[in-house]
C-alpha cells in the first residue's frame, strides 16, 4: 500500500539552531496518530513542515506522491489559529473566506460541526473564550475534505467538556480513509482515540508504533510508556 505521507532524511534548522535531524517517517491512510514529545521538541515544526508553511528544509516531504507545495496543500488541512484575521472579524465572514479559497470546504459540514461543538457563529473572534475558539478552529479544519488532517495541540488549556466534544467530532466527521495527526504532550487525553503513536525525541523520531501493541507487549498505558522513555535519560 503506497504511503500517504513519506518523509525522507528531513533536516531543519532555524536561526542556525538544529530542530530536526534526518527524520524518516511513513504514514498510511485511515489512521489516527498521536504525535508525542516534550515541549519544544519540534512537534509544531514538523506539522508546519508537512503543511508547507515552514520552509528551507533539507530532505523530502511527499504527500500522496506529490512534492510541489501547492499540490500538497490541497491534501492537507492544518489547524490554523486564525491569527491572520483581525479580532473584529465576524465568524460568518471567516466561514465565507474559507468557503471561497478552499474548493474542498463544505459550509453545510461546517454548520453541522459548529452546532455540535457549540460554537456561536454570530459573533466576532474577540468574543470567543479559549475553549470556544479552539472548537471553532477544529470545525474549520474538519470542514475541508482532505486526506490528511494536522491538529496542533488542540486540547491545550481547554476544559474537559470541550475536549470530549472535539474527540467525538473527530470520530464522527473524519472520513475513514483520511488520516489525522494530533500533537499533544498530554497523552492521557487522546490515547484511547488514536491507533498509532509517533514519539519524538533527540531531534528525531524515536518510535512509530500501534498503541495497542504497546499495551499488549508492555502491559503499560501509553502515557506510562512514553514517560519511561523520557526518564530513561534522567
Amino acid at each position: 500500500m503506497s504511503n500517504l505521507l513519506e518523509i525522507k532524511n528531513l533536516s531543519y534548522r532555524i536561526n542556525q539552531k538544529l530542530i530536526l535531524r534526518e527524520i524518516n517517517l511513513e504514514v498510511q491512510a485511515g489512521h489516527f496518530i498521536a504525535l508525542a514529545g516534550e515541549n519544544g521538541i519540534g512537534k509544531t515544526t514538523l506539522l508546519r513542515l508537512i503543511a508547507s508553511v515552514a520552509k528551507n528544509y533539507r530532505g523530502e516531504i511527499t504527500i500522496d506522491g506529490k512534492t510541489k507545495p501547492e499540490e500538497k496543500k490541497t491534501m492537507v488541512s492544518f489547524s490554523d489559529q486564525l491569527e491572520g484575521f483581525s479580532k473584529r472579524t465576524k465568524i460568518r465572514d471567516i466561514e465565507k473566506f474559507y468557503s471561497q479559497v478552499y474548493p474542498d470546504f463544505s459550509e453545510e459540514k461546517f454548520d453541522e460541526i459548529a452546532a455540535f461543538l457549540d460554537v456561536d457563529c454570530n459573533n466576532n473572534l474577540s468574543s470567543l473564550s479559549k475553549g470556544m475558539k479552539e472548537r471553532l478552529v477544529i470545525a474549520l479544519t474538519l470542514s475541508r475534505q482532505v486526506a490528511l488532517y494536522l491538529l496542533d495541540e488542540p486540547f491545550s488549556g481547554i476544559d474537559v467538556m470541550s475536549r470530549d466534544k472535539i474527540i467525538k467530532g473527530l470520530l464522527t466527521w473524519v472520513d475513514e480513509n483520511s488520516t489525522v495527526i494530533v500533537s499533544s504532550h498530554h497523552l492521557s487525553e487522546i490515547e484511547n482515540v488514536v491507533d498509532e503513536i509517533i514519539i519524538m525525541k533527540d531531534y528525531g523520531i524515536y518510535e512509530h508504533v500501534k498503541t495497542d501493541d504497546i499495551r499488549n507487549e508492555q502491559g503499560k498505558s501509553i502515557e506510562e510508556y512514553f514517560e519511561n522513555i523520557y526518564w530513561e535519560d534522567k
Partner: protein, 122 residues
C-alpha cells in the same frame, strides 16, 4: 467510555461485546452497529474498532453478511462456548485471588457455600 489503560483496547472492546451477548442484550442473529457507529459509541478510532470486530468475526461470534452488515451468530454452540469461557475466566480470577490469600481448595469451597447460604437467608 472508560478503558483500562494497560490492556489493548481492542481486546477490551471484544470483552464488552461478548458480555452483551452473554447477558442477552444482543440476541442471536441480531444486527449490530456499523464500524463507524460502534467507533463513536466506544470513542475509539475505526481501526481499533475494526480490529476488534475482525477478531470476533474470525472467532465466529460475529457473522458478516455482504452488503448487509455484521450480525450476532445464530450458532448456539459458539454462544455457549462464549458463556463457558467467560464463566471460566471469572472463576479463574476469583480462584487466583483467594488462593493468593493463602486459602486451600477446601477453604475456597467452604467460603463459597457459606456465602450462598447467607444470600438465601436474606
Amino acid at each position: 467510555m472508560k478503558f483500562k489503560d494497560n490492556i489493548p483496547i481492542f481486546i477490551q472492546i471484544k470483552d464488552i461485546i461478548n458480555s452483551r451477548i452473554i447477558s442477552g442484550q444482543y440476541k442471536m442473529g441480531q444486527k449490530v452497529s456499523s464500524v463507524r457507529d460502534f467507533s463513536i459509541e466506544f470513542e475509539v478510532n475505526m481501526n481499533t474498532m475494526q480490529r476488534a470486530l475482525t477478531e470476533l468475526i474470525a472467532e465466529g461470534v460475529l457473522v458478516t453478511k455482504r452488503g448487509l452488515g455484521n450480525f450476532i451468530t445464530e450458532d448456539i454452540e459458539i454462544i455457549d462456548n462464549l458463556e463457558g469461557s467467560r464463566i471460566n475466566s471469572v472463576i479463574e480470577e476469583m480462584y487466583n485471588d483467594l488462593t493468593e490469600m493463602g486459602l486451600s481448595d477446601q477453604e475456597v469451597i467452604y467460603h463459597i457455600q457459606n456465602f450462598m447460604k447467607e444470600k438465601r437467608d436474606e
